[in-house]
Amino acid sequence: MSTMRKIVIVGATSAMAEHCARLWLQQGVDEMVLIGRDVQRTERVAADLRVRAPQCRIETISSDFLQPEAIARTVDQACNTINPDIVLIAHGSLPEQADCQQDLQQNRAALEVNALSPVLFAEAFATHLEQAGQGKLVLIGSVAGDRGRKSNYVYGAAKGLVTRYAQGLQHRFAGSRIQVLLVKPGPTDTPMTAHIKSSGAKLASVEQVAANIVSGVARGKMVIYAPAKWQLIMLIIRHLPRVIFNQMNI
């Protein structure tokens, strides 16, 4: 039904990415390349998707996610395999804020995986999309990137960097057939948030969030809040006067 026939997913083992992939396959995809850091986990996702859509050719690449040369090589390999219509960059990891404050090593690791790694992938894909002259580059940021908060600013800052990077790419490709889309999920029920959930937090279902992402990507929305209500919530939070904001325990 759609023209989005070839898709690359970085961080393909993410629950959000998997659910997006399942929805895309239902709509019809010809070829897919899944990139993950662990062969077994990535193959597990590929096997699942192959059962769901036997007509789609699905390949996997395992890669280092931090080394610039490895990232460049992986992206070349993916784009030699298929000419993607959509690239989704989904990986990330939610660190303990307190650990990051006490241990700079962990702090750095969190910044690397949530900020540096995705934007290096994005930059490498941007080059390929530019050559191909079309395609959608989708990055997953977070509502946490919209305003720094004491409970989560290391992760938030990393996602903020992704936000700004996406903005720059959007500017660069304005008026072209290349679209750069930024997804900002709210708290979602995935393995990443399992420890928050056990303390009783209310989380959106990953199916719901994936459906929001897939429809936002189809419409070419530059910023996709998922679920959509977070757009309003974050509008308010971003604009709360500091005196009020500082009273809040968030």
Binding site: A15, R41, R44, V45, A47, D48, V51, R52, P54, P191, A194, H195, K197, S198, S199, G200
Partner: protein, 431 residues
């Protein structure tokens, strides 16, 4: 966090963690016990482990392989039956056995050896499991099936999550023409009628079930529903999946004697008017309540029980009549009351519920002592009839009835995983 089972009788704190990989289990601290937990669609306490750990399996939701020649599907245990139906019915394959909701996991369906409306033809869920992989808390892995490690298989099918965590299963799907069912609705006005309908339908119809008006006393009126997969593909648009959610827990049960009698009467007459044959989509036919999400909230903050028994056929009619009489007299009960026959076959699991006979299932709003007193009277009838109660629904059965109903208990205990325990196992087995 507080965890409720489907009956919402208790919301006790549990340490909940999501199993992320089918390869290994999280370590357990000394003396700590865990329990695998699927969709929590069991009504009572079989899926709960208060003050202990729950391992949610719903992220183990990957297919592993499917062979379109043989219909063999290998998948992880957290896959929902709904997803299997949605993926494979369009390709001509269907799950041979599903319960009255498709929002359950493969692991949960195996651990309760669930049954559907077609027991007389296809038995229970375990009859279609070719193999499963069991992960024990000591780290060992046991592959078992009807031919391989058959004793482990028999312990784990219907094994209530107590023999290990099922991480993956191989299921035999059945060919199907499409998503449509040919159904027929027949009102009945006595238990005699019911049994006659059941007996005469079994040869021709794959699915049989009946709704019974538990307020009708000795008249025992109800609606008998039978169905077959429609033979050729029917080109009707499939209904869009629309779901409503019961938005809150009302302060008191909306199901009470005042609402029930007129409601049941209205339902009976409406269905009786619609009697006859028609074509129905499989989802609406098999899983009528799945579009009303969280309907279990209508019973209010105290929750509800389901009481499901099976009694042997030769005493079945008398036992069912006696139970209905007690229920009508008590004025308890609810709209959700199901009466159906099981076929003449033994289940594969040592602790499986289905056995030849007739099964009656009813919901009861929890009104405390009076509800429990009614159950004691029903227990006496079941005990006398040589029947058993269904653990997937149970939160209160007495131990002697459990032991009498499940004669293979001692054998089953040899296969327990000492790292796993549930509220039900502590209540009925001691640990």
């Amino acid at each position: 966090m507080k965890v409720y089972s489907w009956g919402r009788l208790s919301g006790e704190p549990h340490a909940v963690s999501m199993l992320a990989s089918a390869g290994s289990l999280p370590a357990l601290a000394d003396g700590q016990r865990a329990l695998p937990h699927g969709m929590g669609r069991s009504y009572g306490d079989s899926c709960l482990n208060p003050q202990g750990t729950l391992w949610k399996t719903t992220a183990l939701d990957h297919y592993v392989s499917f062979d379109p020649e043989s219909g063999l599907l290998v998948c992880e245990a957290g896959v929902l039956l709904r997803d299997i139906q949605r993926t494979f019915i369009p390709r001509g394959w269907i799950l041979p056995v599903t319960p009255g909701t498709q929002l359950v996991t493969v692991g949960g369906a195996i651990a309760n050896d669930v049954h559907g409306k077609n027991h007389h033809v296809h038995g229970s869920f375990g009859d279609h499991v070719r193999q499963l992989r069991l992960l024990r808390t000591d780290g060992s892995v046991i592959e078992c099936g009807p031919e391989q490690n058959a004793e482990w298989f028999a312990a784990t099918v219907g094994g209530l999550g107590l023999t290990g965590v099922i991480t993956q299963a191989c299921l035999q799907l059945r060919p199907v023409a499409g998503p449509w069912m040919e159904t027929e609705t027949c009102p009945y006005h006595s238990l005699d009628d019911f049994f006659q309908l059941a007996d005469t339908s079994e040869a021709q119809w794959e699915h049989t079930v009946s709704w019974i008006d538990c307020m009708s006393g000795s008249h025992s009126r109800g609606i008998f529903m039978r169905g077959n997969p429609a033979a050729a593909d029917i080109s009707q648009p499939e209904p869009a999946a629309k779901a409503l959610t019961v938005p809150l827990v009302p302060p008191v049960s909306l199901i009470n004697p005042l609402s029930l009698r007129p409601f049941n009467a209205a339902y009976f007459h409406a269905q009786a008017r619609k009697s006859g044959r028609r074509i129905q989509h499989y989802a609406g036919y098999f899983y009528p309540l799945d579009n009303l999400l969280e309907w279990n909230r209508i019973y209010g903050p105290r929750g509800f029980y389901q009481y499901q028994s099976v009694v042997p056929r030769h005493v079945g009619q008398d036992a069912v009549a006696a139970m209905l009489k007690e229920i009508t007299r008590s004025g308890a009960g609810s709209f959700l009351a199901v009466l159906k026959t099981f076929g003449n076959r033994q289940a594969v699991g040592m602790m499986s519920f289905p056995q030849p006979g007739v099964t009656l299932a009813l919901d009861f709003p929890n009104k405390g002592a009076s509800t429990l007193a009614l159950f004691q009277r029903l227990d006496a009838i079941v005990r006398e009839a040589g029947g058993r109660l269904y653990m997937a629904k149970d939160a209160r059965m007495p131990r002697d009835l459990f032991e009498a109903g499940y004669p293979r208990l001692a054998e089953f205990l040899n296969y327990r995983d000492p790292g796993l325990s549930s509220a039900l196992s502590r209540r009925l087995i001691g640990y």
